[in-house]
């Protein structure tokens, strides 16, 4: 019974990039229907973990079960089970909102008759219906983010991964966004796995939290658990007490080292 309720189950996960261990022996689970926040300072291994959970990156070792499917050997079944909103935009700017949705719907094998209706519904839900035939390059950051959320939900996923969904958005849009997410969680019983740097947002929406630092999980539980454990008043204080006050430089794993180089050259 209890096992059935775990929709994400990660055991002894490791990821090594050319001698640098980005994720070290990470184990945790997410219960079906909960909002789970995965927090950590810059370069702690959050995005690397999400990339492994969403089949984009092969773990060095360890197991990942997504909706009961092995994310390494049953990739396509795992992929059908989740939707994702990436940290950086991942829309085709040269296509319209509708076309971006259609592209995803077809690639996720949503049957044509359901697809059309679902796209309408979702665009309405994220309030982009009247812009459905506009090219995405004309959208603001917030509109793009909303479209990505709609896209991530198109194939009726059981889990929604949100990697820093509120990054770069103004307070109004952020507020709206979290309302959507909570509504989805409540009404469609979608499990939400999110990362964010805004700890007060995590405190508000997440039922359970895991904190990762230097590639290792250093604490997990409800907000209340974490506050009790650290004898602090807010999640933010708990977070700082667990991870320290020093400023982090982004650790240079393969991807971010490349990004850094790229930025320097520009």
């Amino acid at each position: 019974m209890i096992k059935e309720q775990k929709i994400i189950e990660v055991k002894n996960l490791f990821k090594e990039f050319k001698g640098f261990v980005a994720v070290k022996d990470v184990s945790f689970f997410v219960k079906k229907g909960e909002i789970f926040a995965f927090l950590g300072p810059n370069g702690a291994g959050k995005t690397t973990t999400i990339r492994m959970l969403t089949t984009l990156l092969r773990p060095t070792s360890g197991t990942i079960l997504i909706n009961g499917f092995d994310a390494i050997t049953q990739k396509d079944d795992a992929r059908r089970s989740f939707g994702i909103v990436f940290q950086d935009p991942s829309l085709d700017d040269e296509l319209t909102a509708w076309e971006n949705m259609e592209f995803h719907g077809i690639l996720c094998q949503v049957p044509a008759e359901i697809r059309k209706k679902r796209i309408e519904e979702l665009l309405e839900f994220v309030e982009l219906k009247d812009r459905k035939n506009s090219l995405v390059k004309t959208f603001s950051g917030g509109m793009k983010r909303r479209l990505e959320i709609a896209r991530g939900l198109l194939h009726h996923p059981k889990i929604l991964f949100l990697d820093e969904p509120s990054l770069g958005l103004d307070a109004q849009t952020r507020n709206h966004l979290w309302q959507y997410i909570q509504k989805l969680n409540r009404e469609e019983n979608i499990t939400v796995f999110l990362t964010t740097h805004y700890l007060e947002e995590a405190e508000k929406v997440a039922q359970r939290i895991a904190i990762i630092d230097h590639g290792q999980i250093i604490a997990q539980g409800t907000t209340l658990d974490l506050k009790k454990q650290t004898k602090t008043q807010s999640l933010e204080e708990a977070f700082l007490s667990l991870t320290g006050h020093g400023i982090r430089e982004e650790e240079a794993n393969g991807q971010s080292a490349f990004r850094l180089r790229h930025q320097l050259r520009r």
Partner: protein
């Protein structure tokens, strides 16, 4: 099947929406046609080789296909940089299907471009020996387009970002074109150059097109077909394999 179709459709839409690219990709062949075709024409004629435009036109068509196809393949790098690649890699579709859709999309666009340039050469005075040869010519365009779209994907899979692009342009694309026999006849060229021409896959596409359109072959139809078919298969599967290795 639907996955292949939507990948194909995306290529087509992107191509036709990008007017500046469409126009600029016609500019280059026209420049070659005018500057070389009309500029070197008189010398060519005096050397007893006949009409240079007649010789050059198929090479210019092949060039437009080379450029369009290879850029479509290389677009994978842009997709990586702009994040869209992740979206493509997180769907439950085999990488092979994605690659087939992309390659066919690239090929369609390149053939369209080739036909457009053919039209321009006709306006400039190019006279194919018979218009019945057009279907065969299109088939050669198709093979060329597959070879170079796949090559583009291979390059894109090996490069991390666009910084090495100048390198690719100067040390791969340009040599592919200039050493292909597109702009000079092969009779009497130095041995080393002839070897280079024979090693250049582009040569067989140029020869195939020139042969079908004007009846003058440097190699033979069978050689051209064999080389291009084998190469398109090899590059397609190499591209698919490399594409499947991409992590995002």
């Amino acid at each position: 099947m639907e996955a292949i179709y939507i990948m194909w459709l995306r290529q087509i839409k992107r191509f036709f929406r990008n007017r500046p690219r469409l126009i600029s990709s016609l500019g280059q062949p026209m420049l070659f046609l005018i500057a070389l075709g009309f500029g070197l024409g008189p010398i060519f004629q005096r050397a007893g080789q006949g009409s240079y435009l007649q010789f050059l036109a198929p090479g210019v068509i092949a060039m437009s296909i080379l450029f369009t196809a290879i850029f479509t393949g290389i677009e994978v790098i842009w997709d990586r940089q702009f994040g869209f690649l992740k979206e493509t890699l997180v769907v439950p579709v085999s990488r092979l299907e994605l690659m087939i859709g992309k390659t066919l999309g690239g090929a369609t666009v390149a053939i369209f471009q080739g036909l457009l340039v053919l039209l321009i050469t006709l306006l400039a005075g190019f006279r194919p020996t018979s218009l019945f040869s057009t279907p065969t010519a299109i088939f050669f365009m198709f093979l060329l387009a597959i070879v170079f779209t796949a090559l583009g994907v291979v390059i894109a899979s090996l490069l991390e970002d666009m910084h090495a692009f100048q390198l690719v342009m100067n040390f791969l694309i340009m040599p592919l074109y200039f050493l292909s026999g597109a702009i000079f006849p092969l009779e009497g060229v130095p041995r080393a150059l002839l070897t280079a021409v024979k090693l250049d896959p582009m040569s067989y596409g140029v020869d195939g097109l020139r042969g079908t359109l004007t009846g003058i072959w440097a190699f033979s139809p069978l050689t051209d077909l064999t080389v291009l078919s084998i190469l398109s298969l090899v590059l397609f599967f190499l591209g698919s394999w490399l594409f499947a290795q991409i992590e995002a």
